[in-house]
Amino acid sequence: MAKSNKPIIWGTFAAGGEIVSLVMPVIILLTLLAATGHVPTVFSYETMHAFAAGWFGKLVLFVILFLSLWSQAHRLRITCFDFGLRADTLVAIVMYVLAAAGSIATVVFLARI
């Protein structure tokens, strides 16, 4: 029997799962702090903008967002299946198209900084 190509999907799912569970809570906390006006100086708008403007910062942000999008697309696909929505191919296409659109949008927005 042929070996599966699922590692392509699962690789982003596993790596993205790690990112989401480790990095996302920090980003949410920082966003909340920013929203309430308590921004630590290292995370001021100017510093963050400078970080996102450099190629290294762009790369870091892209990897985080790309992996998060693909892992959550896969997570939602599996969740749909577990809840009885068994049109797996259709669900997979919708989810992965959303993740792809999000990835492209990430590239576009990062390029414009």
């Binding site: 029997m1 070996k3 599966s4 190509n5 699922k6 590692p7 699962w10 690789g11 596993a14």
Partner: protein
Amino acid sequence: MTENRMGARQVELEVLRYNPETDQEPKFQRYSVPCINEWCVLDALNYLKDNLDPTLAYRWSCHMQVCGSCGMMINGEPKLACKAMLRDYPGTIRIEPLAHFPIERDLVSVADDFIAKLKRVKPYIISDGKHTIEQGEYKQTPAQLKRYRQFAMCINCMLCYAACPEYGLQPKFIGPAAISLAHRYNLDSRDVGRDERQEEIATNEGVWECTFVGACSDVCPKHVDPAAALQQVKVASTVDWYLEHFMSWVKK
């Protein structure tokens, strides 16, 4: 439930009965069995068969959680009948054969599917032939033993298959125990058979059918943690995939 001072108790059992030669479909039969509170469900079944109804069919052998024969659904949960203690079941106890398997008769499941899958994953040491019998035993360090010991505890009781919703949905799934045992031999320092096993388990109906529900590890009576084994196989298979497709010159 009645209980007297001797710690004895009249236990109500609802046992699934099915004789494929005479019955149209399985149905429950009720028994009232005089039991001692310290008995396990298997003791109650043995009393039942010896004294009340000799026609009841079920498998058992060791009565000490080693042979893996007496797996059955007890109040809807996959359990070894020798490990399920009556004192943990206050009311009527419902006993059925393992879920997801065809019924041979009464509480006896047809294990052919699992046995065939077990054979496919080659759960034995495939040696490179360099170590001869004349050289004596093949020594391992405690660290080498520790790598696979947990996964070697499997007794093939099939409780994990009865618990796995994926196996229920997709019977082609090679399943928790067989993949865990493949992993156990892959981790063995004396073994060189990983490539052969990957042909079976790194497939869509192999480890990639698993969605990490984790029910297998919940019900495993030997704490093998098949879910962990399958996740480790996924990580290793993903590394393999990238090496095979982008760095085929690197030896795995």
